[in-house]
């Protein structure tokens, strides 16, 4: 690797980054486990409600509203950060700087300014569009992404709904957002949009299959569909003569883990319609695919949905393959965020490295390569479990 030659300002930036990282670590250690704190607050509130004979239904409704607000806040914050981060990463991968002006330090406020701009922009419905389908499509695309977050464990005790069928629920619900994209394609009354929507439907439906099948080995090993128990199985280390060698993450299971991880990662990138597989919105072929005719807030909802799915896929990868919130020193939620954003970086890295696949090759890749290998992976897991 070429050693970078840094000038003064870059050294200063590196120092600032190091400072931010250490400050973040310190703050997260000081905050500790959020889940435990939340449950304490919940206990206080429920005892208070019991004393003053407040109906528990009111309390649970209130807690649901608060949980939803936290999730929405988290999604929008994470998406804003990811958009800024994507612009920075892509810029540095092309030896540029990216946004540098807004907000002072390295353009950190650029996405906030962009979001305000998108809110204020004119909302255009084309004359050829079917108004209701056109209006509903962004909502149908975004709501499943939001619903999926309910079952994503952000750390110990940080899960809105710890479903017994958590992983199945996430796969099932995230499959629904294809509907939003198809609606956008059809409702826009534009040939490019329609083509983009159709391509996206074909792609998402095809890649859903290897994505689900690649998770089956984990489910076979763990024997549960519950995401928290899958994460809990992966705590601790594999020891060789008492020395901790590797964490017990599923990615380090010999052969099976790596194949499953690769298939899951590739089909996750395809599910989120990102660049090596972005035939749905291929800029150079279809203008912007299904969101060609969208502007302002509706467009930003598609954007939000895409990035929400990117983080969801990264979070799922973390929970399934990288041990969830397990890790030393730092609390579990910060480990989860660190690992998830590392996977998000992988997504960005793929996007700014690989060129787009052709439509037929894309289909060939999933049906003739990923699908057989995920079946073989299940077979190997069966043999491992048998002996």
């Amino acid at each position: 690797m070429i050693l970078p030659v840094w000038n003064e300002s870059q050294k200063r930036s590196a120092l600032i980054l190091f400072g931010i990282a250490s400050a973040g670590a310190g703050i997260s250690i000081a905050i500790g486990e959020i889940g435990a704190r939340f449950s304490k607050i919940w206990q206080c509130l429920s005892s208070f409600a019991l004393k003053n004979s407040i109906p528990t239904a009111l309390l649970t409704t209130l807690s649901m509203i608060i949980q939803c607000s936290i999730l929405i806040g988290f999604i929008s914050g994470a998406v804003m950060f990811m958009v800024w981060w994507e612009r920075k990463v892509s810029a540095h991968m092309q030896n540029r700087l990216g946004p540098m002006f807004t907000g002072g330090w390295h353009g950190w406020a650029q996405t906030i300014a962009d979001a305000i701009k998108l809110l204020l922009k004119e909302d255009i419905i084309p004359a050829e569009a079917k108004p209701w389908v056109h209006r509903l499509a962004p909502i149908v695309a975004f709501v499943p992404a939001f619903l999926c977050y309910a079952a994503l464990p952000f750390g110990e005790g940080l899960i809105s709904a710890d479903l017994d069928i958590g992983i199945l629920y996430i796969f099932a619900i995230s499959g629904l957002s294809v509907l939003g994209i198809v609606m956008a394609g059809w409702g826009s009354g534009n040939k490019y949009s329609l083509l983009g929507g159709l391509r996206s439907a074909a792609q998402s439906v095809s890649y859903e299959i290897p994505r689900v099948l690649s998770v089956v080995p984990i489910l076979m090993m763990v024997g549960s569909l519950k995401l928290t128990s899958i994460a809990n199985v992966q705590t601790g280390f594999w020891r060789l003569a008492g020395i901790p060698l590797l964490p017990r993450w599923f990615i380090f299971y010999p052969i099976v883990g790596q194949i499953a991880f690769l298939i899951f990662l590739i089909s996750s990138v395809a599910e989120t319609n990102r660049t090596p597989f972005d035939i749905a919105e291929a800029e150079s072929e279809l203008v912007a695919g299904f969101h060609t005719e969208y502007s302002g807030m509706k467009f930003s909802f598609f954007f939000l949905a895409e990035y929400a799915y990117v983080f969801l896929s990264s979070g799922l990868t973390t929970v399934l393959f990288l041990g969830g919130g397990s890790g030393p020193v730092l609390p579990s939620w910060s480990w989860f965020l660190l690992k998830s954003f590392a996977v998000v970086f992988l997504f960005l890295w793929f996007r700014w490295t690989f060129p787009r696949l052709r439509v037929d090759r894309l289909m060939e890749f999933t049906w003739k390569f990923l699908l057989p290998w995920s079946f073989i992976n299940i077979l190997i897991t069966g043999f491992i479990l048998l002996f």
């Binding site: 690797m1 970078p4 870059q10 540095h92 092309q94 030896n95 700087l97 490295t353």
Partner: protein, 157 residues
């Protein structure tokens, strides 16, 4: 069957190679220059805006003749006592709307050691109206040359 695995190996290898390329340039310093805050040093023989020294000029008219776009005009000064032309300039005007920054006027200028009309390294110069492009230097009154701040905080290439 062997070919199948060979293809997988080749594809995987080239994907990782591609990712290494972006990884390397990710850590290289950016070549972007943040223009208003930092500026590149112009080359030694850079032809920026023309400047004029109204005290050393001998009003010899060589630059006017050398100019291919005829953007320079001048009038020699007249001694008020003898009513004769002297080797000084009364006014000197350059039309920067016509000037093509070719350095021919500077090459023709005979004054030594510093040429009267010469190029500077000044390139940040915007005009809103056409009449601002006529820059006039008058020996007896302050010139109309816009006060251009010197390029500071330059960054080497």
């Amino acid at each position: 069957m062997l070919n199948y695995f060979k293809t997988i190996y080749k594809v995987g290898k080239s994907l990782i190679q591609g990712m290494l390329v972006t990884w390397k340039s990710f850590w290289q310093p950016s070549i972007t220059v943040q223009f208003p805050d930092e500026k590149l040093i112009t080359p030694e023989r850079f032809r920026g805006a023309l400047t004029f020294d109204k005290e050393t000029c001998t009003a010899c008219n060589l630059c006017v003749k050398a100019c291919p776009t005829a953007c320079i005009s001048l009038e020699p000064a007249v001694d008020p006592a003898t009513k004769k032309r002297i080797a000084k300039v009364s006014w000197y005007q350059i039309d920067f709307g016509k000037c093509n920054y070719c350095r021919l006027c500077e090459e023709a200028c005979p004054t030594k050691p510093i040429k009267s009309v010469r190029h500077t390294h000044q390139y940040e110069w915007g005009m809103l109206e056409r009449k601002e492009m006529f820059v006039k230097w008058e020996r007896m009154s302050p010139s109309t040359e816009p006060s251009t701040s010197g390029s500071t905080n330059m960054k080497p290439i």
